[in-house]
């Protein structure tokens, strides 16, 4: 249909997606799913909260953690971006990025306990790594002078040749990243930090759905209004206020940190100097019982969700495109997409899993809704700018398949590939909610306080993520679609 390469790649992914469907556990376990979801969705009409003081506090905590996290991440990201030429730095940052912020939170919970420091580190570490990468890419793109033209004063040349062009892009990406940081901070509540996610999950567990809705709606408003309250005039003040609001940054414990690295995560047989055979057994055991099923399930959920995401994006983008839809349709679709995009997939998955039980179907739907919304939005936006001939057909189906889809298809695949790695990372973390992906085994290892196993599984997760990233990059190079996109991961 659209030339060989795109078609071949599409075919491969559809095939893998269908195979995943076959292997996925899609059973709906919850017997009361229908009743529960009716209760849940009807509660939107009776918004309320038991203790508004608590709610305000949760919002302020979420905000100030996110603000400080982006401040530190931008600082460290900028420093690391200068050393991005070093392979060692690149590899370390790739590893750091590949581990989800919730996993980082789980790690620091073991070391420093439940406090602001843990929350900040959990966000700052992966975010610095991401920002370093993106900053480095931006700086490379805006290179006005060739190497030969550079003088000896490297700093002056850096400031004169790179910064002026790159600065607006650096700032705009950082601002975008702040929105992601808000979402990530909210989610930290699911591991016990008193941000929005904490109250959201506890209200949900108690069946106080009207509270869940209120938190969600306020959260959407907060995200939608970012540009009004977090901009060049306010950011410095907000950072200072956040410092004072959070106030207590203690919790750093050198002894614990040392113990974590020198004892906790050292594989049990090595720590106890066991013989080679029992060491091999230890690894083999984990490999067959945890690593293998964990990886399989993570990949199955990832590929299934990727396919669903693709289908949703293809079906919905015409609804926000002026080429296909009228204004009321576009506006209502837009609102739907914004809401779905602003809801972290973790929260969507949490709600679906609570309603329908721990199956891959609700998880895949959550991933589809979030990622599909992002891609529909981007593609729909692209089609608006598309200039068609004045003698183009008036038939919508033909317009879609002959004029619009072939023009956006490469871009569509590129967006999907960018989301692929993110979907994989989310698939792994959703294990914490009870689906048997890698996160499930990591979470269980922590519960059993077998941190050596946890660490091993985390490395596996990171490697899997890097592996997907490499395939994605290869595929994009093969298809020659490499236009960069700002999403909450790259």
């Amino acid at each position: 249909m659209f030339a060989s390469k795109n078609l071949r790649v599409t075919f491969a992914f559809v095939l893998i997606g269908l195979v995943s469907f076959y292997f996925a556990d899609l059973e709906i376990i919850s017997l009361e799913a229908a009743n529960l979801s009716q209760d849940f969705f009807l509660s939107i009409f009776s918004l309320g909260f038991n203790d508004y003081h608590l709610l305000l506090e949760a919002f302020l905590t979420t905000l100030s953690i996110a603000i400080l996290a982006i401040f530190f991440s931008a600082f460290f990201g900028a420093i690391f971006s200068l050393f991005f030429g070093s392979l060692l730095i690149r590899i370390s940052l790739a590893f750091t990025r590949a581990i989800h912020e919730l996993f980082w939170a789980l790690i620091f919970l073991q070391i420093f306990g439940l406090n602001t420091l843990t929350a900040l580190l959990a966000i700052v570490i992966p975010y610095s790594a991401t920002l370093a990468k993106v900053y480095a890419e931006i700086l490379e793109e805006h290179d006005t002078f060739g190497d030969t033209l550079r003088g000896r004063d490297r700093l002056s040349y850096f400031i004169y040749t790179k910064i002026p062009d790159a600065l607006p892009h650096l700032i705009s990406y950082t601002r975008y990243r702040f929105e992601c940081a808000l979402r990530s901070t909210a989610i930290l509540g699911f591991v016990g930090i008193t941000t929005l996610g904490y109250y959201l999950s506890s209200s949900f567990m108690q069946g106080l759905y009207h509270e869940v809705w209120l938190i969600l709606i306020l959260f959407y408003i907060l995200i939608a209004s970012i540009k009004y309250w977090f901009n060049k005039y306010t950011s410095v003040i907000l950072v200072i206020i956040s410092f004072f609001y959070l106030d207590d940054f203690s919790g750093f414990n050198m002894a614990n940190l040392k113990r974590f690295f020198t004892q906790d995560i050292i594989p049990y047989p090595i720590k106890n100097n066991l013989a080679l055979q029992s060491t091999a057994n230890w690894f083999e055991n984990i490999f067959t019982n945890e690593v293998l099923p964990g990886i399989t399930n993570t990949i199955v959920l990832t590929q299934l969700s990727l396919l669903l995401t693709a289908l949703m994006a293809l079906a919905l983008f015409p609804l926000i495109s002026s080429k296909f839809s009228n204004k009321p349709t576009r506006i209502s679709t837009h609102i739907f997409l914004v809401v779905m995009r602003s809801t972290p997939e973790y929260i969507l998955a949490f709600i679906f899993l609570q309603l329908y039980g721990p199956s891959m179907l609700p998880a895949a739907l959550a991933l589809m809704l979030h990622n599909g919304s992002i891609i529909s939005h981007l593609i729909g936006h692209d089609t608006d700018a598309m200039k068609l001939r004045i003698d183009t057909t008036n038939k919508k189906t033909e317009l879609y398949f002959y004029e619009v889809l072939p023009r956006v298809y490469g871009q569509f695949l590129a967006f999907l590939f960018y989301r692929w790695e993110i979907i994989m990372r989310e698939s792994a973390i959703l294990g914490v909610l009870g689906i048997m992906t890698l996160g499930f085994y990591i979470d269980s290892a922590i519960e059993d306080f077998r941190l050596d196993k946890m660490f091993l599984l985390l490395i596996v997760t990171a490697l899997l993520n890097i592996f997907i990233d490499v395939i994605s990059r290869t595929a994009r190079a093969y298809l020659r679609v490499n236009k960069n996109v700002s999403t909450c991961s790259t």
Partner: protein, 223 residues
């Protein structure tokens, strides 16, 4: 008289983006006439061609300067697009997956004359500028209309191909209005030339009636 007139403009001003591009134009184009529109870029040629298309949508094939091809589709499908409105949606969708033999045959006849037969099933984005222009021309021919309105359709073709392409177009269209910037091509292959400069018609004559001075004027128009 009326049925032999393809276009009739009387004191017409044409604007684009709220800016008047052409002031009070008046001329008739008879059916069967092959008219070359000369002028440099920005003289209003494209705007005039578009205006003419608006006037005779049903009977005209239009080739915009930017061609408007779908890069990711094959040459064949880009040509087929001309008839999307004539076939059923089902027919059109099946064609994307497996082209109908009869439709392919119809298209082959056209691409043959334009030296594109070996590119039929290649993606447009792999073609050269000249090949893309010929694809757009083939699409216009395939539409099977009586009038052709073309905006610099052969600017990327060499002399030989230009001549060949123009004769193919003359065989297939009763009436042609074609924007060009090559005075020689215009006077050699067309019946009539209209020269536009600074939003006004400077010259409008049959090619057989052109004096040396007129030719000079045409070169001046295209400078």
């Amino acid at each position: 008289m009326r049925f032999i007139i393809a276009f009739s403009l009387k004191n017409e001003s044409i604007s684009y983006n709220k800016e008047v591009i052409l002031h009070s134009l008046s001329f008739d184009i008879k059916r069967g006439e092959k008219v070359a529109l000369l002028g440099k870029s920005g003289s209003g040629k494209s705007t005039l061609i578009k205006k003419l298309y608006e006037l005779q949508k049903e009977n005209s094939s239009y080739i915009p300067q930017e061609l408007g091809l779908v890069e990711n589709l094959s040459v064949y499908n880009n040509i087929y697009i001309a008839k999307l409105d004539e076939f059923s949606t089902m027919h059109n969708l099946i064609n994307l997956v497996k082209p109908n033999a009869k439709d392919v045959n119809d298209v082959v006849d056209i691409v043959d004359k334009l030296d594109l037969e070996d590119k039929m099933f290649e993606k447009v984005n792999s073609l050269s500028g000249g090949q893309k222009q010929r694809t757009a021309i083939a699409r216009a021919v395939y539409a099977n209309k009586s009038i052709l309105l073309a905006d610099e359709p052969i600017s990327a073709l060499d002399e030989h191909l230009s001549a060949k392409t123009i004769s193919t177009l003359k065989e297939n269209f009763e009436t042609i209005v074609c924007a060009l910037h090559d005075v020689e091509l215009a006077t050699k292959y067309f019946d009539r030339v209209i020269g536009l400069k600074d939003s006004e018609v400077i010259i409008d004559k049959k090619c057989t009636e052109l004096s040396k001075k007129d030719i000079q004027k045409l070169y001046y128009v295209c400078e």
